[in-house]
């Protein structure tokens, strides 16, 4: 029963992600201009501007489609950074154990107390904005998760006989850890990465919303959403609604895939023996 629901989740999620990427590609190929200001300021959705225009007369549909590039790119950068850093430190710490492991674990346990966004706000406040900067700021908050998972897996298979025998053959540490042990962590890492793409997109837009994201006039969902706030009381709803909608859809896509993968991996690894 479970594999079926998780399979449909992965499928649905993948379809959504593909649609978004297609929209993004379309916006580049067709040459939509997110920066073109016009005099049609704050006009509601109509045939010529499907999602209306913002306070500078820019077409929101263009901004929203183009913005996909930025949100996804920054999210991707941050996920890569956190996966890389967290996994490597986690693998090394789990493998070598001892005092270093205890200290590192304590460090990351403590870091768990700082929510990712707070760290991101802090770092963004210090080093400013930009694709790599923002990506880095968000990444730091997610490193503990990868550290924990990889460390846990390495720890649990460290004592297994096949590791001992590989060592006996004379495999070096690097080889041992990364070629023989890490593969066991890969399913969990992949599921976590996909889920984190979703969270990272939310964080990117969160930073943007707070004014700490990519510098204007970059079309970023969160930033546009935040700027669009000013006009809500005047009855202008489209400036904030559409960027937000894009956030929800893209996060939904990645989260569906991530959750589905997570279920599948859990189901296959903990299959209880049936005795008749």
């Amino acid at each position: 029963m479970w594999p079926k629901s998780s399979r449909s989740m992965v499928t649905a999620g993948t379809i959504i992600v593909v649609i978004i990427l297609t929209l993004d590609a379309y916006s580049h190929l067709v040459g939509l201009d997110p920066l073109q200001t016009t005099f049609q300021v704050l006009s509601p959705p109509a045939l010529d501007h499907v999602m209306g225009t913002d306070q500078l007369g820019r077409d929101i549909f263009s901004r929203v489609s183009f913005g996909t590039t930025f949100s996804l790119l920054v999210a991707f950068v941050s996920v890569i950074i956190s996966v890389g850093t967290g996994s490597i430190i986690g693998a090394l710490s789990g493998f070598f154990g001892g005092k270093i492991d205890q200290a590192t674990s304590l460090l990351f346990d403590a870091l768990y107390a700082l929510p990712a966004l707070v760290i991101a706000i802090l770092i963004a406040a210090m080093i400013g904005t930009g694709i790599v900067n923002t990506g880095l700021a968000i990444a730091i908050g997610y490193i503990p998760q990868y550290f924990r998972i990889v460390r846990g897996i390495i720890f649990s298979i460290k004592e297994r006989p096949f590791i001992e025998s590989t060592r006996a053959i004379g495999a070096g540490y690097g080889n041992l850890i990364f070629r023989h042990m890490m593969p066991y962590a890969i399913p969990s890492i992949i599921a976590l990465m996909t889920l984190n793409m979703g969270s990272a997109i939310v964080d990117v837009s969160g930073l943007g919303f707070l004014g700490l994201g990519l510098p204007p006039p970059t079309p970023e969902w969160g930033t546009d959403l935040g700027r669009g706030r000013d006009f809500i009381t005047a009855g202008v709803w489209w400036t904030s609604t559409f960027p937000g909608l894009m956030i929800v859809i893209s996060v939904l896509g990645f989260t569906l895939v991530g959750e589905g993968l997570d279920e599948i991996f859990r189901a296959t690894s903990t299959r209880k023996k049936e005795t008749f």
Binding site: L106, Y112, L114, V118, T241, T255
Partner: protein, 337 residues
């Protein structure tokens, strides 16, 4: 090990953990590029002397490790430094804004915990059914909606449909200000016996609490459901019903405690996420809490204030984790070993 020993050890563990957090925050603030003096000066041009004086005042001419020790020492005495922008001790600013955040998060949790856990447990009992699927999808979609957008949409709807709900702030300016005893508007209204102020506070709490509360509930639903489903598959549940226990008894006496208690461990993590959500919610609803203070201080590059806010956040989460860990040990006998 005995419970008392565990509690003691756990309390002691908090000290290095908080120290690490404070150090990390300090490190980020000092190590990353960005000149506090330039920020305070702003666009004002100053002479060499003035800059040096300011630098000395802020203690920035001392070697880094001394600055660090000074800072930690001050923290222990409750001195969070001085806010250049607000011209007040940081601690006072924090104290002023903390109650609003506490009020927001308290009511949000009050909404989130029953809503999330009940729907998760309900869905798990009916696992595989259409209603289970609906609850799962609902929670998933709600989880994917950023908290700030959800709040914005609520505001948009209120404005579009002209609903009589306030979209920002903690209280209406028309209502006579109630004496701020605790800083918690609801409590203060009760203490003052002011019914109008009480109703007003609740009305202002409505949208923010729904925003933040449903966000938290979405994760709780998923966690609760997974836990209950896992526990229902455990051997001892089978044995319990084999013993002849009626289904309700099996569920309430054996399944629920085993399923819900691990959720306690997540609560610690959830507090961190809740505070994160509070920052965004406060910004959307112009709620004068710590979150809004943090963003304000970032905007004005008030380093001491930024540092103070983040350290306070870290302290609150550490405290929450401490309480959670100890509660967990009290409730689950396996943990103390």
């Amino acid at each position: 090990m005995k419970l008392r020993t565990f509690i003691l050890l756990r309390l002691l563990l908090t000290i290095p953990m908080i120290l690490i957090l404070v150090t990390v925050v300090f490190g980020i603030m000092r190590v990353l590029p960005g000149d506090p003096v330039a920020a305070v000066m702003g666009s004002k041009q100053g002479s060499e002397q003035q800059i040096e004086l300011l630098r000395h005042e802020l203690g920035l001419d001392k070697p880094l490790y001394l600055q660090y020790l000074d800072y930690v020492g001050n923290l222990l005495r409750g001195d969070f430094g001085y806010s250049m922008v607000r011209q007040r001790p940081v601690a006072s600013e924090l104290a002023d804004h903390l109650p609003a955040t506490i009020e927001l998060t308290f009511w949000s949790m009050l909404l989130a915990i029953p809503l999330g856990i009940y729907s998760g447990v309900f869905a798990a009992r009916k696992a595989g059914s259409k209603i289970d699927a609906s609850i799962r999808i609902g929670a998933l979609v709600r989880w994917c909606i950023p908290v700030f957008w959800f709040g914005l949409i609520l505001q948009i709807l209120v404005v579009q449909y002209g609903l009589p709900l306030p979209v920002s702030g903690q209280a209406s300016p028309q209502i006579a200000t109630v004496a701020h005893v605790t800083g918690l508007y609801v409590v203060d209204a009760i203490l003052a016996g002011d019914a109008r102020a009480l109703v007003d506070s609740f009305l202002h709490l409505a949208l923010p609490v729904v925003t933040l509360g449903t966000t938290m509930a979405a994760s709780l639903t998923k966690i609760a459901r997974t836990n209950v489903v896992d526990v229902l598959g455990e051997e001892y549940i089978k044995v319990a019903s084999l013993k002849g226990c009626p289904d309700e008894q099996v569920f309430q006496k054996h399944a629920l405690p085993n399923a819900l208690i691990p959720i306690l461990t997540y609560t610690g993590l959830q507090v961190a996420i809740l505070l994160q959500g509070a920052i965004l919610t406060e910004t959307v609803f112009a709620w004068s809490g710590l979150g809004r203070l943090l963003i304000f201080s970032v905007g004005f590059r008030d380093f001491n204030l930024i540092q103070g806010c983040v350290v306070l956040f870290a302290l609150v989460v550490s405290l929450a984790n401490l309480i959670v860990d100890i509660s967990y040990a009290i409730v689950d006998p396996r943990v103390r070993l």
